[in-house]
Each structure stands twice: as structure tokens, then as C-alpha cells.
């Protein structure tokens, strides 16, 4: 608790400095053109064969650089999957190195603050710690937010939702300027697969409601909220090909060394499922929230209609 107070004070100072900086930037340098990296503005980038941070660097470059999505002075949320009290080797949570790389990149792009959280399933402090994400994210300069109590969530209407018409969403998501969705690729007993859309379960307080009211429809409904992530970055470095989403041992995991990044959440999940099918057959139609989402015009499963870049390292 007292350690955290120290961090708080640190944050206060950094935050103050950053907000002054952002104030300056918005007044003095307002004519500064948005930085566009040389890589071009692809809709979907797939990378394979590298280490998490390395693959991210390649992918974001091909997406036009992080500054296409993160503006100076913004408050950014990076939302990984920290659902389980498992080590990085067990592949149940997002890779901590990837989370750290994204955090650093956002700060480099001038983000005033980067916040990392997830609504864990297991004991939250154990999840934050043993996933390695808390340490990695803090070291990278992020603030860890709490998500274990209902008081951190605010009720929001979801007008486009079919079954999920209202939900309590984490206030960090509601209050931020932009957020980045960083799921990990896993099987799931209920939803079949858990990727980008399913990762929204971690910004919602009452997950049971989703399970009880047509899970697949609710997952799609969740992706109709007005505050959608600016980027979906699918961690497929270690993928859980059986016993997901929690897994029981490292045997459930395969080292796939891949990463998918897209502004289109449906496309990101489509690409990830297709990639996953090479390890273990998975009919994309059975992951029915993807199909439902396409019907609801959340995104497209037709990857050919997008500008896709494939990078092998």
C-alpha cells in the first residue's frame, strides 16, 4: 500500500509534467502535422517468426506507426488479458513483453499516461503479479489500474446491442482518450475462441450476465459500444490450443510466434482464427460471435477486401 503511494506521488509528478507538455503541444504546436510513418496505412498486419516486442515493432510500423493512433497528451488504456493466475509460459494471459513494448511505444508517441488493467477471474493480485504484466507494464512506465470491485465500473447504455443493452464498463475505458485491445489467442469452452472481441469481457463488471444471455450474441453486442479500441493487437506468441481459456499446464500451449494487428476487430479475430486452424482445426462459423459481429456491421471477415500486410521474420 505504501509502495503504491510512492508510485502515486511519482505518477502525480510525471502526470503534472506531461499535462503541461500536452498543454504546450496543443497550443504552441497545434499546426504540427500528424506523423505518418513510412510503412503505410494497412488495415491488417500479420507478423510471424519473431519475439513479441520485435514483431510488434514490425507490425506497428506497417500500420503507419503508433502516432497514427495515439496523439500527444492523450490518456491511453492498454487492455491485455490478465484473467488467470498463470505464468507467461502457460499462455493464459497476454505476453508481458508485448504489453511492455506497446506501453513504451505509446509513451514515446507522447501519451500523457498509459493505463493497464483487466478484470481478472482468479484472485486479481495474483493474476497481475504472476502474469508478469504488472511488473513489465510498470517498468515500461504504465500505471496499473484496479478492476476487482464494482465501484470501478460505470453503467453504460449499449443502444446497438441485441441482448446486452446496458453494461457496467470500467471507468478507465470510459475516461480515456483511446484504448488498445491486446488479447491473447486461446481456445474457449463456451465461445470456442477467445480473441479480441471476447477480450471485452475484461472491461465489463458482470460477466455472468453475458454467459446467461446468449454468450456469443453478447460478445458481439459488447463490440458495438461507442468507445471502441483504436487498435486490436492479437498476441499469438504462445497460443493455447486446448483446455482454454485457463489451461492446466504448459502442455496446452504451442509456441506459434505470431502477432496480428488491425483496426478492424472482426478482421483481427478472423485472421487469428485462420492462423489458429493450422494448429488445430477450428471452423470460424462455430466461433459464432465473429459471424454475428459481421452481420451487425462491426467489421468484416473478408480479409481480401482489406489491405493486408504479411511479414515473416
Amino acid at each position: 500500500m505504501f509502495m503504491e503511494r510512492r508510485n502515486f506521488l511519482k505518477g502525480l509528478i510525471y502526470g503534472g509534467v506531461a499535462s503541461i507538455a500536452s498543454f504546450k503541444s496543443s497550443t504552441l504546436f497545434s499546426k504540427e502535422p500528424a506523423a505518418v510513418a513510412s510503412g503505410g496505412n494497412n488495415d491488417l498486419v500479420a507478423v510471424m517468426g519473431g519475439e513479441p516486442a520485435q514483431m510488434y515493432a514490425k507490425a506497428i510500423e506497417a500500420m503507419g506507426g503508433i502516432s497514427r493512433f495515439v496523439k500527444r497528451g492523450q490518456k491511453i488504456v492498454v487492455k491485455p488479458n490478465i484473467g488467470w493466475d498463470k505464468s507467461p509460459e502457460e499462455g493464459a494471459n497476454t505476453n508481458p513483453e508485448l504489453v511492455a513494448a506497446i506501453v513504451k511505444d505509446c509513451l514515446r508517441a507522447g501519451a500523457a499516461e498509459v493505463v493497464v488493467f483487466d478484470h481478472s477471474c482468479d484472485h486479481w493480485q495474483s493474476c497481475y503479479k504472476n502474469s508478469g504484466i504488472e511488473d513489465a507494464a510498470k517498468a515500461a512506465g504504465a500505471r496499473i489500474a484496479f478492476a476487482h470491485d464494482e465501484k470501478y465500473y460505470k453503467s453504460v447504455k449499449i443502444p446497438k446491442g441485441k441482448r446486452l443493452k446496458e453494461a457496467k464498463i470500467h471507468s478507465e475505458i470510459l475516461d480515456c482518450d483511446a484504448w488498445i485491445n491486446v488479447p491473447v489467442l486461446k481456445t474457449h469452452g463456451g465461445a470456442r475462441m477467445t480473441i479480441s472481441m471476447k477480450n471485452f469481457m475484461g472491461i465489463v463488471w458482470d460477466r455472468r450476465f453475458l454467459h446467461a444471455n446468449d454468450l456469443q450474441q453478447c460478445i458481439a453486442d459488447c463490440s458495438t459500444i461507442s468507445k471502441m479500441p483504436v487498435l486490436n493487437i492479437v498476441d499469438a506468441y504462445r497460443i493455447m490450443t486446448q483446455n482454454g481459456p485457463k489451461g492446466k499446464s504448459p502442455d496446452d500451449v504451442q509456441l506459434a510466434k505470431a502477432l496480428f494487428i488491425s483496426t478492424d476487430i472482426v478482421a483481427a479475430d478472423t485472421a487469428a482464427v485462420k492462423f489458429f486452424s493450422q494448429f488445430r482445426p477450428m471452423d470460424i462459423n462455430s466461433v459464432s460471435h465473429i459471424g454475428i459481429a459481421e452481420k451487425m456491421n462491426i467489421g468484416t471477415t473478408d480479409l481480401d477486401s482489406l489491405s493486408v500486410k504479411r511479414i515473416k521474420i
Partner: protein, 521 residues
């Protein structure tokens, strides 16, 4: 010399008091492995743990009592030290005259009545009355219910001021029965000690009475020597009002070895003396069992002391022989689903036999699923810890409760042992399952199951998947019950194992590692 000794006692006593209390307070709980060893040196838990693995601690406490009397009461007992603190504070509001103590007759009827209430049932195989009167466990319950609640309030005050760096902590489920009981003991002890110092220890406390009985035969006792000039300084500072100046007798059965009298005596008359030397020299072979004339009062006490010890001894023998005439026949009637004993309890009977309901396990549980039972185990299991999966489930990698237990009422388990400890088994009722009732995907139970006792299999005639439960692998952690969204009745409910079993190890499922060179799209 006694001044130094007293200072050492005071400092050690405060240290023990603090360390013991910290075991029950959340912010120190993560350090439980460092703090919990101090809980072993508690008389009643050690007594009950005689046959479960903490005999060495009981032997230690017995030996110091045989040597120096009720050192436990002034040094190790948290409720005793609390009373010293209260009476110190109360002294600030008293006049000099009011602060002065004097000899008072022992409340023998009450003392032995409470001792009987505690130890007679024990001899008949019922631990509960002793557990509810044990001073350490009472302090544990007070700490767990009241002090930690205060700490929680303060924590959340900070969480309100620093929302980004201090997290909000939900309050432990409030159970009125245990709160009232703890508050009653706290108020009773506070009032008694504010007015009459260690009166509680010498009237109500059964541990005090038993230790007092043993102290009657201790080797070294505080005694008044010939140097005494009847100044009465010793008796004015005696917490137990046990220095009988007229008869120049110190009632060792009530003396809590606080050393106050010895530090007060300017003539060095009140000191610890070897109790058997002179008597043996004077009365020679006749000494054993013979009562000197004019000491009828003391012979009465002696008889009572022997009775108390005899009773406690009988209780221990009865336990060793597993003599249990009142073993409840109603066990089967106890509602199954809510009487899950924590891991390490071995069986509900083992828990009832050994647990003093000190609530250390309740305090240490990071998921706050251990709660005091009010009716779940039946009447003889009042306030014993049981698991309740309403707000969370038992952490697969966590063994905190088995590590903190002072007397192996919960036997210590390694994380590996605990992962196979089957405290109960889930029961799946299809007719409540969302997949069956709503014909939609769910899988919440499968998602949470740590051993994969639950897997999802294709559900006939649909493209849905439905849970399949292998009860032999299930350890009863309650993750499925907790998360199951079915209402009003959940589809997964854990049924308690009256006797804990070892579950079958989770199936090993090695898979072929696939090498992929393409993106697949």
C-alpha cells in the same frame, strides 16, 4: 534483577501481542508465513493439537508452567496482554487510591464452574465450549471481526483519497452472530480489566484455571520471605489480587507471573523460590500428599486443582482413545452443500475436534471465502471455518489457510498436496444449465475449472457445447459454482466431502507440437 526481567516480559509480551494480532489483519496477511509461527505457542490450540502434531509446543508451555507458573498468561496470551493494556489506560482515569489493589478472595465457584463447562464436554469429545472460552481464540475472533474491520475502513479511506494507488477493498461478509459474540467478549473483558485487572483470567478463563492448577505444583513460585515488613507494596500492585498479606501467602493459582510484586518490594522479600526444598527438609518422607495443619483452605484449593487437572487429563486421554459418546448422529442431516471444510481439515470431525475457531484461516484467505459457520456444521460446529463460494472460489495455487493454522486443525499442505485435496465434489444438474435451458453457449464453469474436471463436449442435436463433469478429478474448489450464471439454482454446486479425499490427478494431455510456416490466410 526483577526490574529488568519485568521489562523484558513487557517488551516480549507487547511484541507477541502485536505479532499475533497482525496475523488477523489484512495488510500483514501476505506475510502470514513469517508471522504465523507465533500462533503455535498458544495454550488451548496446543493442548488440542497434542495428537495432531503440535505436541512439542504443548510440552514447551507445560514445562514453563511447571517451572515458573502462569508465564503464558502474562507473556503469550494476547487477551491477557490486552487486559494489561486496558488496565494501564484505565489507571490514567483513576485516583491514586483507586489504582491501589488489595487481596481478594478467589471466585472459586465461577472459576471451577467455567473450567467444568470447558473441560467436561472435552472429555466427552466436544471441543466447542473450550474453543469459545479460549482466550487466544477469543482474541483471534475479536481481531478478525472487529480490528480487521477497522483496518479495512482505514484502508478504504486511503483508497478514497488515493484512488489510483490504493485499491478499494470490499468488506468481508458480515455475519451478525460472530460479530455480536466477539463484541460481547471484547466488551466484557474490557470492562472487567478496566475495573478489576486480571479478574477475567481468574474467574472466566478455563485456560487460566487449568494453568493455575498446574502452577500449584510448579517448581519456582513467588513467595514472601522473612525480610517482609508488611508494607503491602506488593499487594497494591498485584493484578490478580492474590497476595494475602495477613497469611503471608501468594495464591499461585491466580498469579499470572507478571513480576509486579517483585519489582515493587524494596526489601527483596517477594521472590521466586524453589518450592520443594524447605518442605522436604522439614517434613522428610511424610511430605508427599500430607497437608500441613491450619491450611484447610489451601487443601481445598489443592483438591480443586487436582480435579481440574484430572479433568483436563481425562479429556486428553479421551481424545487419545477417540472416546466420543455424543458423536452427533445428525451429521447426515447437516445440509451438505454449505458445510465444506477448508483444505487440510481432513474431515469435518477432525475440524470439530481440533479447531478452536480462532479464525486465523478466515483472516488469511485472500479470496475471503472462509466464513464462520453459524449452523452449517450443526451446533457443535459453531463459528468453525467453512467455505462459501458465493463471492469467490478457492485459489488453485493457494494453501494459505493450511499454513497459518496454529494447531494443525488444518494440517499443513504443500501446494501440490493441496491441488489434489478433494474437499468436495461439484454436482452438475443439466436442467439448470444455460446450454440446456436457453440453448445458447456458456462454458463459464469449464472456463474456470483448474483441473479440467469440467470439459465441454458437443451437445446432441445442436452446434453447442455442454459441460461434462468428471467427479474423480474435481477437488471441490468451487470455481464452477461461483461463476455459474444459472438462476435461481446454479447448475454446478459443490457437495462437501465429510471426509476429505485425494482426487485423481488431472489428465495429462500432451499434444503434438505443430510447426507452421504460413499465416493460414
Amino acid at each position: 534483577m526483577y526490574k529488568k526481567l519485568k521489562w523484558i516480559r513487557v517488551i516480549l509480551a507487547l511484541l507477541f501481542f502485536l505479532l499475533i494480532t497482525l496475523n488477523f489483519v489484512w495488510f500483514a496477511n501476505s506475510k502470514a508465513s513469517l508471522l504465523s509461527p507465533v500462533l503455535h505457542l498458544q495454550f488451548v490450540p496446543a493442548l488440542l493439537g497434542l495428537f495432531t502434531g503440535t505436541a512439542v509446543f504443548f510440552a514447551f508451555l507445560l514445562v514453563i508452567t511447571i517451572f515458573f507458573g502462569r508465564v503464558y498468561c502474562s507473556l503469550l496470551c494476547p487477551l491477557g496482554v490486552y487486559q494489561d493494556i486496558v488496565s494501564r489506560i484505565a489507571d490514567l482515569f483513576k485516583s491514586k487510591k483507586q489504582r491501589r489493589e488489595k487481596y481478594r478472595k478467589p471466585q472459586n465457584f465461577l472459576r471451577y464452574f467455567f473450567a467444568l463447562v470447558a473441560f467436561l464436554p472435552l472429555a466427552a469429545g466436544v471441543t466447542l465450549p473450550l474453543a469459545l472460552t479460549d482466550p487466544y481464540s477469543n482474541w483471534g475472533r475479536i481481531s478478525s471481526e472487529i480490528i480487521s474491520l477497522g483496518e479495512n475502513l482505514i484502508h478504504n479511506l486511503f483508497a478514497g483519497i488515493f484512488p489510483e494507488s490504493v485499491f478499494y477493498r470490499g468488506y468481508a461478509p458480515f455475519i451478525i452472530e460472530i460479530f455480536i459474540f466477539s463484541a460481547f467478549i471484547l466488551i466484557l473483558v474490557t470492562i472487567m480489566s478496566a475495573f478489576r485487572r486480571r479478574l477475567y483470567c481468574n474467574t472466566v478463563c478455563p485456560a487460566g484455571t487449568l494453568l493455575g492448577a498446574i502452577s500449584r505444583f510448579s517448581l519456582f513460585r513467588p513467595e514472601m520471605g522473612s525480610e517482609c515488613n508488611m508494607c503491602a507494596a506488593c499487594s497494591t500492585v498485584c493484578k490478580s489480587n492474590c497476595i494475602d498479606l495477613k497469611n503471608r501467602k501468594i495464591d499461585v493459582s491466580r498469579c499470572v507471573s507478571c513480576l509486579n510484586c517483585m519489582t515493587m518490594c524494596k526489601r527483596g522479600s517477594v521472590t521466586y523460590r524453589f518450592a520443594y526444598r524447605r518442605k522436604e527438609k522439614k517434613s522428610g518422607m511424610e511430605s508427599a500428599g500430607r497437608v500441613p495443619s491450619g491450611m484447610d483452605n489451601f487443601s481445598d484449593d489443592r483438591r480443586r486443582a487436582l480435579l481440574t487437572m484430572g479433568l483436563a487429563g481425562t479429556a486428553l486421554v479421551a481424545r487419545a482413545a477417540e472416546f466420543r459418546p455424543f458423536k452427533s448422529e445428525k451429521e447426515k442431516e447437516v445440509e451438505k452443500k454449505h458445510s465444506i471444510a477448508p483444505p487440510g481439515a481432513q474431515s469435518i470431525q477432525h475440524l470439530k475436534d481440533n479447531c478452536t475457531a480462532c479464525h486465523a484461516c478466515i483472516s488469511v484467505c485472500p479470496n475471503r471465502i472462509i466464513k464462520p459457520a453459524v449452523g452449517e456444521y450443526g451446533l457443535d460446529g459453531l463459528f468453525l471455518p467453512h467455505l462459501d463460494y458465493r463471492n469467490h472460489f478457492c485459489g488453485y495455487d493457494c494453501n494459505a489457510c493450511t499454513q497459518i493454522c496454529p494447531n494443525h486443525a488444518l494440517i499443513p499442505m504443500s501446494p501440490e498436496e493441496k491441488k489434489l485435496c478433494q474437499i468436495g465434489r461439484a454436482k452438475f444438474s443439466l436442467r439448470n444449465c444455460i446450454v440446456f435451458t436457453d440453448k445458447t453457449d456458456c462454458g463459464a464453469c469449464d472456463e474456470h475449472c483448474p483441473t479440467k474436471a469440467i470439459t465441454m463436449i458437443p451437445y446432441k442435436g445442436t452446434n453447442l457445447y455442454i459441460p461434462k463433469l468428471d467427479r474423480d478429478i474435481c477437488i471441490g474448489c468451487g470455481a464452477c459454482e461461483y461463476i455459474c450464471p444459472a438462476r435461481p439454482v446454479k447448475a454446478m454446486i459443490v457437495e462437501a466431502n465429510q471426509v476429505h479425499l485425494t482426487a485423481e490427478a488431472p489428465l495429462k494431455e500432451e499434444q503434438e507440437k505443430v510447426k507452421v510456416d504460413d499465416f493460414g490466410f
